[in-house]
């Protein structure tokens, strides 16, 4: 799951997966701004065929948190 999320991030941020640190945080790199956050949310919605709530979107600030939210939604 974490690797899949990294993959999506690399795609959305136009970076290599190796550039995405495990402890990456929203705002810790320039590429993860509010606009790309939106793109990340949309891409993940499409990939996992789920729909995030606004509260979840604002909590999705690290790979671990994103993975946790996706897992709860997939149950």
């Amino acid at each position: 799951m974490n690797d899949e999320i990294k993959q999506v991030m690399a795609e959305v941020f136009a970076l290599q997966t190796t550039d995405i640190a495990d402890d990456i945080k929203m705002g810790s790199i320039i590429k993860w701004d509010s606009l790309n956050h939106l793109n990340l949310v949309i891409t993940l919605q499409e990939k996992y065929n789920i729909s995030f709530e606004p509260e979840e979107m604002s909590e999705m600030t690290s790979i671990a948190k994103i993975a946790q939210i996706i897992l709860t939604k997939q149950k």
Partner: protein, 533 residues
């Protein structure tokens, strides 16, 4: 192409595959003069009060009027129309917003008339064609000021790219159509002109609409061609006689209706119309034909064809918008089919004539009568050796034999036939034995190549010969028909010409005729005589 986009909501994701910079929300103070082109994409606020919405709409127009003069005139400005995306209709009788939107969009078109660099894109076209998905996803509206559902992003991008293509006039030119189960239901060769499904009721109605749509494509500058495996006469008859037929021969710039493979036919159509294969779209219900063309002629666009006739309207709309969409039609576009048709008919030449006489007259035939000489004797001998079908006596002669006739003072004539398509060369030969003392003649040989038959040439040739005999004071002529396995078509030629049958056996008919009055040669022919006397 670098775009600068004026906007009042979050739309970045709708243009992610374009090179873009964006204005602030509702901001017009900066106009990026580094941009190659500009896009204006404002959306109505999703607010409760109609008066507020209308006031904002007026504000949009004022902003636009302030912005247009600040953009270089040679740079394109694409303006999307305003659409009602979500609206609280407090009173059903209140139509103010609808009317204001209509006025706004009408003003846009006036603006485009005044400024040639302004192009209007109808956003309602996107809205109505994507009604299967929610247009607004409210959570993105509240979290990101995004009106258009981001899940529609990729659809919007391809739609918008098509619109730009249309503005750039990068459209295909020619639509090549199959007939059976494409332009009508059923198979013409099996079901007949009355049996094919067209008009009346389903599925005929769906095919009628399809034809109507294609006709309108033609009116919008798309060249139509037909490529079908059928008997040509059957199709021509169906075009003429089926009362439900909408697309007729006059709408088709060129066609190939035969049993050859469609790849060669499409190549022939391309060269006849002088259009590149990459400008052609081929529509056929048969997957095998579609596959053949995709492999043999990969430049040609071959869309899938719907299984069900009721899916034809959507299919057609897709084919048109993906391949033939145009921003505005020029006079030249409108005349395109006519132009291509004229060129094509020069190649094919199948005009329709009121009568066979009118057709002959139009051929501009010239008959040149030549006495045998050293130049044409080899050809004359060859014609006597080869001609089987239109040959009254089938006498075979060598060059020496022909020389002998000439030296004996007999009449050896040949004729070349020319028409507006070209010169057929020497195609007819007559050898007439002449007895000057008795003032009689005997037509020993009379023959003609099949190439020129069926145009009255044979009757004209005989008339000319008889007139020449009269010039030589000949008063009576004899002739013979000798039956062979192949010359049945000439069996009654002399009877029909008016010669008297005087003796008949199983294989021979002998004729005689008095020569008194000159024979009239049909006006279709211009007769030239080359005398070497």
């Amino acid at each position: 192409m670098k775009y600068f986009i004026f906007r009042n909501y979050t739309i970045e994701n709708l243009f992610s595959s374009f090179e873009t910079t964006f204005s602030g929300y509702g901001e017009i103070t900066t106009v990026d003069d580094q941009a190659d082109a500009y896009i204006w994409f404002y959306m109505l606020p999703l607010k409760a009060d109609p008066d507020t919405i209308i006031a904002e709409l007026h504000d949009f127009y004022q902003k636009l009027e302030l912005t247009v003069p600040r953009i270089a005139e040679h740079k394109r400005i694409i303006i999307l129309t305003i659409e009602k995306l979500f609206y609280y209709q407090w009173q059903n009788s209140d139509h103010r917003l609808n009317n204001e939107i209509a006025i706004f969009n009408h003003n846009l078109s006036l603006l485009a008339e005044a400024h040639h660099n302004i192009k209007i894109v109808d956003f309602s076209d996107f809205v109505t064609n994507n009604s299967d998905k929610a247009l607004i996803d409210w959570k993105f509206y509240y979290t990101s000021q995004m009106v258009i559902n981001p899940m529609l992003g990729s659809r919007f991008q391809s739609w918008f790219k098509q619109k730009i293509k249309a503005i750039d006039s990068q459209r295909k030119k020619c639509l090549i159509l199959d007939l059976d189960n494409t332009l009508w239901g059923g198979i013409l060769g099996e079901d007949g002109i009355d049996g094919i499904k067209l008009g009346d009721n389903y599925p005929g109605l769906a095919f009628s609409d399809f034809q109507e749509n294609i006709l309108h494509a033609s009116k919008n500058g798309v060249i139509l061609a037909v490529c079908s495996k059928n008997n040509e006469e059957d199709v021509l008859e169906a075009w003429q006689k089926n009362p439900f037929m909408i697309l007729k021969k006059e709408h088709i710039a060129a066609y190939r209706i035969n049993w050859q493979d469609k790849a060669s036919n499409i190549e022939a159509l391309a060269s006849e119309l002088n259009i590149g294969l990459e400008s052609m779209v081929f529509i056929d219900d048969n997957p095998a034909e579609r596959n053949l063309i995709r492999h043999a002629l990969p430049e040609v666009t071959v869309p899938e064809f719907p299984e069900q006739p009721y899916a034809l309207p959507q299919f057609f709309k897709k084919v048109y918008s993906e391949n033939f969409q145009i921003y505005a039609l020029t006079d030249e576009d409108r005349e395109k089919t006519a132009q291509y048709k004229t060129n094509a008919s020069r190649v094919r030449h199948r005009e329709k004539f009121a009568s066979i006489e009118a057709y002959f007259a139009n051929l501009q035939m010239v008959l040149t009568i030549l006495p045998a000489d050293n130049f044409n004797i080899p050809r004359i001998a060859q014609i006597t050796q080869k001609t089987n079908q239109f040959n009254l006596t089938t006498q075979r002669y060598s060059e020496n034999d022909i020389h002998h006739f000439v030296n004996e003072g007999h009449m050896v004539l040949c004729m070349s036939v020319q028409d507006k398509f070209g010169d057929n060369g020497i195609t007819a030969v007559a050898i007439v034995e002449i007895d000057k003392n008795e003032k009689t003649a005997n037509i020993d040989s009379f023959m003609m190549s099949c190439r020129v038959l069926g145009r009255g040439v044979e009757t004209a040739f005989l008339s000319i010969i008889l007139n020449q005999l009269m010039e030589q004071q000949i008063e009576s002529v004899k002739t013979t028909y000798i039956a062979t396995a192949k010359n049945r078509q000439t069996e009654n030629f002399y009877d029909q010409f008016g010669f008297s049958l005087i003796e008949q056996s199983s294989a021979r008919k002998h004729y005689q005729s008095q020569l008194a009055q000159a024979y009239k040669v049909s006006e279709h022919f211009k007769v030239r005589r080359a005398n070497n006397e």
